[in-house]
Each structure stands twice: as structure tokens, then as C-alpha cells.
Subunit: 323 residues, 2 copies
Amino acid sequence: MAQKGDLMTVRSDIQILDATIRDGGLVNNFDFSEDFINALYRANVKAGVDYMEFGYKASKELFDPDKFGKWKFCEEEDIRKVVGENNSDLKISVMADVGRCDYKKDIIDRKDSVIDMVRVATYVHQMPAAIDMIEDAKAKGYEVTCNIMAISNAKEADIETALEMVGKSSADGIYIVDSYGSLYPEEIRRIADKYMEVAEKYNKYIGMHAHNNQQLAFANTIEAAARGVSLLDATMMSMGRGAGNCAMELLISFLKNPKYNVFPVLKFIEEHMLPLKEQGVVWGYDIPYLLTGRLNQHPSSAIDFTKAGRNDYTEFYTDLLDK
Amino acid sequence: MAQKGDLMTVRSDIQILDATIRDGGLVNNFDFSEDFINALYRANVKAGVDYMEFGYKASKELFDPDKFGKWKFCEEEDIRKVVGENNSDLKISVMADVGRCDYKKDIIDRKDSVIDMVRVATYVHQMPAAIDMIEDAKAKGYEVTCNIMAISNAKEADIETALEMVGKSSADGIYIVDSYGSLYPEEIRRIADKYMEVAEKYNKYIGMHAHNNQQLAFANTIEAAARGVSLLDATMMSMGRGAGNCAMELLISFLKNPKYNVFPVLKFIEEHMLPLKEQGVVWGYDIPYLLTGRLNQHPSSAIDFTKAGRNDYTEFYTDLLDK
């Protein structure tokens, strides 16, 4: 597949999704202040960001609301407290995990909601359940994406079957998700070409959600974009599980569309992300994450290692090799 | 130009150069302990690194030896104190800056030296002086590279002329140097193809020296490699001026050649790089470097900003836009 666009002009199909609360919430248990959320919403609107993801629509049967911040559940009224009727160009998204969301009950009709998009997160082996959630959200009137996670650990034939299943569904978009941050740009280009073929066959768009285990989240995101991928996830100062995601400040500096403005992003980081770091909330590239990424493993062991304040990398690496 | 190699096999032409002392020395004024240097040498030998750069051959007329650590000058006897006769496969390199090196005097015959390679660092407008240094080092028996710096700020026609000049010289290799960390993978591929054409025409190899201002040092290094570039610079834990360089731990984890071993690198980082960080030596990706990189400016203003302990990014950005 040929390169789409170049470094001088604008690709008007490209859009940015801010996933700071949703992926960043995995780091601090969704414990964000009202002030932080309000400022983030305003910063995204000012920066020209296209979508802001407020968090998960997690089941309150499965997860105790007393043990998590409210953005794990994204109640309609909580979002409205921040955005009112959302009189802006910024669209609002939530993520719904297969097997962790009472979607039939908790996702209401779009006409009664301030939410614009539902992103269904699934593993390859859960595709039938994912399709059911996609059709449910679509029937309720939402824009819907299907985010197939951990593809670096899935069989290619299974990914192809999954892509055909989503292709035939009502989903509007399909996401490439590098959950373990293990993929190199060369692989991302190959994967993006495969996803783009499905997109063209079924008239859908492709998204990219990267992790920064090998300092490749930004590189992989812009390389995917150059193959035609158009919905790009980023988070303020990379905040996200483990090594974090593609940094909003890098992505918005890179894109040439004059609707984007890096200034409100820098201001938000200065006023709200730096204090979070100072409070001891930890995320971002570090050697333990490089090692799990390199070995194509879930970052959980690296997260535990980091939380324990350990830095005996050689011991950690030896342990990983035994897994 | 077609891709060279793939993610499964070994490209035996690829070699790694450790530039921790030389580029990292720009951060701490070359103030490394004996213990650090000795351990780094041993780690590089064990890790299978191909070249270790000990520092600069700077003129003692221009720079006061009392004001810099000894690796700014790389005296023969100082290197020998670390490596003895260097009975290893690791080659030793030094960098010589055009206009800052008394090369006729300070670079002795290779037969009397433990140094294997001289890297001549030059700006495009200094090419005639660079060629004189290249021929001098070559006549003395050294492997020689020409590192053309700051190409993101040079005219393409001038770069082409410079490449022809080096092509016709006795240099063994030519380096792509992204001094400001401003180049994207897409540009690096284009530049690598151009350099590789010269390399094939004149029978030379091409090297890559990246900076991490936009978290692209590793990505740009492996993308350059995939176009045929074969001498890859890296530093322990990215240590280098401003945002630092391509991280050795990332590069050596990526390469498939069984001669490379990440374990001694992790051990060195654990025992020697973390203490350096704890002592307050500062380098690595940060927002001010992203901004100078994005604007294709020298990182000096970002270094000053960081040293001053400032984090008013918006003010800094506004100032940069005025430059």
C-alpha cells in the first residue's frame, strides 16, 4: 500500500483521541480531581483534539464503585457535570471491555446521552461477544470502534478472522492496539496495510493505540498514519499503563492541520500533569517496560517491579526469561 | 532503495558504537570516575559492542584542561590506563571536531596508538577542513568517518556537494547526524537512501547518530538500519546532550546478532548509570527538547531552561517562536 499524505500537507481524515483519563486512570485507579478533569476537557477543546475518552463503562456488579474513581464507570451525570451539553466540536467517548460491562443496561440510547462514541475493547478470542456489544451500541445510535487488544500475542489467522468479523459488523472503525508495546515500525506498517485493506473493503476507518515500552509509541503512531490509519490515540505527557502511550504533545506538534494547537496542551501539562508526577504517580518509559515489551509480555510484572521501588534490572530480566 | 534485512535474521554488516563518554560527557563536562570508565569498557566488551568512543581530541590551546574532564582530550596514556593494549574485539574511537583539534600534532600514528578510529565531526560549511583532517588521520593509519552535523539545518544542495567531497576522500564511513533531533522516520529513510547511494558509489559505509528530542532516536536508528545504514551509535540509558541519544539497551535488545548481549548493559546501567542520575546529572527526553527539536533549533536554550529548574513550558515556547 502506498504512503498516504506527506510531511508538508494536511490529511483532513486524521483525528486525535485523548485517552488520558481512560489509560492514565489505570495508573492512579481513576483518582483524578474535578479540577483536573475540567481543565483537561477545556484544554482538549482549545487544542482542537477531536475526541476525549472519559474512561470505562465498567460493570458495578463486577467492580466495587467504592474502590475506584468514578471514571471507571463514566456515569452520564458525572460526564455532564464536566461538559454540560458539550457545546463544542470535541466528541466524547467511553470504552467498554468485553466481559466487564453491563452494556445492555449501562449504555443508554445516544439521544439521551452526551456520549458520542463507544469503543469496544476485546481480545481476539472474545470476538462474538464484541460483535454483540458493537451491534448493541450501534443500534442505540453511537459511533462505534472495535479495539482488538494484544495482537502481538495472537495468531495471524485469528486476527484475519477477527478483522473479517468486525468488517461485516456495524462498527465504524477498527483499532490496531499494541498492548505490550512490543511492535516495531516495520511491523506496524505491515499490520496497518492489512487493516487498511479491511477498512477499504468494508468502508471503515482504522485507529492506532500504541504503548511506549520501546520508546516507539509516537513513531509507531505516525508510521501507521502514513499508511492511512486516521484515528490516533494520545495522552497528555504519555500518561497510561506502564510505559504509557503516544504523547499528545509529540503528536499535536507533528500534525500540520491548523485546527490543532500545542499551546493549551503545554499549559495543561505545566499546570496539571507535573503536579501529578510530583504527587508520586508513576508512568512512562523505563527499563523494566522495555524488557517486557521486548519479550512480548504483559507489563504487569514490570509495573509490580517499579511499584516495589526495585532497580535490580538483571534479576528482573532473569526472572522474565523464565516465564 | 529496497529494505535491507528483516526482523528475523542477522545483518552481519551492522555494528554498534557506544558514545556514552563522548556525547554523555557534554552533559557532565566529561567528569566521569575511573571506576565508571573501567566498568563501561568491560561492559561494552562483554555486551559485544563493536566500538567504544572515549571522547574528543580537543585542542589544549583552545580548551583549558583544568576546566574539563580528561575525556575531552583523550590522551593516549589515559586511554591505555583503561584498556591496556586493548586485547579485545572492541575497537576504540575518538572524535575530532573541525576547528577544535590540533590534529597534526595531537593525533599520532596509529602504530603507536591504541585508538582504532577517528571520527571527524564537521558542519557542512567546513568541509575542506574536514577533508584535510580525514586525509591526515587516514595517512596515519586510522579507520576514519566523517560526521556531517546539523543536516536538518543545511541546504540539500550543500549536503549533496559535501557527500561528493567525502565520497572522493579516503574516509571509510559517512554519518547521518540528526543533531537537533528534528527528523522524522520518513525523512531519515529518504536521507539514508541518499547517503547509501553515495556509499555504494564510493565503497563506504554509512553510520547513524540520532538525538531523542522527539522520542525518535531509537526509531530513526532502526529505520536507517533497514535502509542499509550499518554503524549505529548508542549510549547507555540514552546519555547525551539534551534529550540524549539512541539508548544502548533498546538497540542491543533489538538486534538479533548473537554476538550482542543485553545483560552486561543492564548490569552497567543498574550499577553506574542510576547513581549518575541520582547525583543529579540530567539528560533525556523532556518537553523543552521536544520543542527545540520540533522547531529545528539547537537544544542549547532547552538545556539552559532545564538547568534553571524551570517548567513554564508555555513561556519557553513563546520565546522559541520569537527566535
